[in-house]
């Protein structure tokens, strides 16, 4: 699984990245986490609100930071 975290370095973006790592550790799911900070690269993916999260190239979340448990459910689905 490839997880991309989009964010320009705002507090929420950092929290999303932290939660993603915690959720992966908690669930034992193996995934590659990539952080994308360049504003042009973010907009090119059609993302309007940061932070955002994509799984295997599909943007799944925008503008909010789910809790660790929600993320675990999310990765399992």
């Amino acid at each position: 699984m490839r997880i991309e975290v989009f964010g320009t370095g705002c507090a929420k973006c950092k929290r999303l990245e932290k939660n993603v790592h915690e959720a992966l550790a908690k669930s034992g799911i193996k995934a590659e986490v990539i952080k994308i900070e360049d504003i042009d690269a973010i907009t090119d993916r059609g993302i309007m609100v940061t932070p955002a999260l994509a799984i295997d190239g599909d943007v799944k979340l925008m503008g909010k930071v789910p809790s660790v448990d929600e993320l675990v459910e999310f990765f399992r689905a």
Partner: protein, 347 residues
């Protein structure tokens, strides 16, 4: 001399903290945090799509800063998104100009510290001028088209409208009553009672996660804005010791074209961290003591937060040098005009 300068800085800081922080800024941060946590951005963003009629997207762009632009770090990504993927250059520029002028923290702080007349004038002028700047930019650079996907995801979970409405109404009331001139003996019980009702709503009508979100958003904003504002206010006080506002009075103390133009150009170049424009105008340029006239004060409030030398560099990367310079010139012209109008109305 060093002692005097420090004293001046500390005095300024104490004055702002005691007069404005508790009664105005703390409730304002909670409201801004609630907006960030509870207002569905998708509901507004859908009006920025490439297919949206222009007579819808422009007005929405001019007022949506109220809820979308609470933090300046969200403005640039949204601007880039609207410009490249959504409604295009015009509405994007309108959003960029209006955002910092009408976000809720800015309006409240401006009104509270500098006066209600200039606070309202700032919001009204930001909306009006941003529409003009957006339309002019779109006309000057028409014919360029961007294509791409415009993605929106709904972030589920709907709450009854009355809950959200009464929630924001209560927070607004706490702010207004807290900042009012009422006696403390009257004020305190009312604010206390209102806080209890907010707590009731929070406990029985919101999920635990939502309240955590609210707290996180409020804390994020406070952490980001307050330290810089406090340090900045102190610096403004120290600066006032060496450079009293009377220094600027010959240039900014009247409502002439040149005074308004100087204020606009200053605003366009200087970088002012969120909210710091308020003590800079109040103390450094002496609007509160009468050294700066009303027109230039408004011109500086309008041009200041929307562009600065560093933000122009970033903008140039997004939309190119030519458009960025045109935008900067338009902002200076429009802010000057708005300042002239306000100056003649008040003076």
């Amino acid at each position: 001399m060093l002692f005097g300068a420090l004293q001046s800085g500390i005095d300024g800081l104490i004055e702002y903290v005691s007069q404005h922080t508790l009664t105005c800024l703390i409730p304002a941060f909670f409201i801004a945090g609630a907006i960030a946590a509870f207002v569905k951005k998708e509901a507004i963003l859908k009006y920025f799509g490439p297919q949206t009629k222009k007579y819808v997207s422009y007005p929405v762009a001019s007022i949506s800063g109220l809820v979308l632009a609470v933090c300046s770090c969200t403005i640039l990504p949204l601007f880039t998104g609207i410009y490249k993927k959504g409604s295009g250059l015009g509405p994007a520029v309108t959003f960029l100009f209006a955002g910092p002028g009408i976000n809720i923290l800015a309006i409240i702080y401006t009104a509270q510290v500098l006066g209600y007349d200039i606070g309202i004038a700032r919001a009204v002028a930001a909306i009006g001028m941003s529409l003009l700047v957006g339309l002019i930019m779109a006309t000057l650079f028409r014919g360029e088209k961007h294509m791409g996907e415009f993605k929106l995801l709904s972030s589920g979970g709907d709450k009854p409208k009355w809950v959200i409405l009464s929630f924001f109404l209560l927070l607004g009331l706490i702010l207004v009553i807290g900042a009012s001139q009422l006696d403390w003996l009257v004020k305190l019980p009312i604010v206390y009672a209102l806080t209890l009702v907010v707590a009731y709503l929070a406990i029985y009508h919101f999920e635990r996660d939502e309240i955590t979100d609210w707290g996180m958003e409020t804390w994020d904003l406070t952490k980001k804005i307050l330290p810089i504002l406090l340090i900045g206010t102190f610096a403004v006080g120290v600066l006032a010791y060496f450079l009293p506002p009377e220094t600027f009075a010959p240039y900014l103390g009247n409502n002439s074209i040149s005074a308004n133009l100087i204020a606009s150009v200053l605003g366009a170049i200087l970088y002012m961290p969120t909210l710091l424009e308020v003590p800079i105008i109040g103390t450094t340029f002496g609007y509160t003591t009468g050294a700066m006239a009303a027109g230039p004060a408004l011109a500086l409030l309008l041009a200041g937060p929307t562009i600065s030398a560093p933000s122009l560099v970033v903008l140039a990367r997004v939309m190119g040098v030519k458009k960025t310079l045109t935008y900067a010139v338009l902002v200076v012209i429009m802010s000057t005009i708005a300042g002239m109008i306000f100056g003649s109305l008040v003076g």
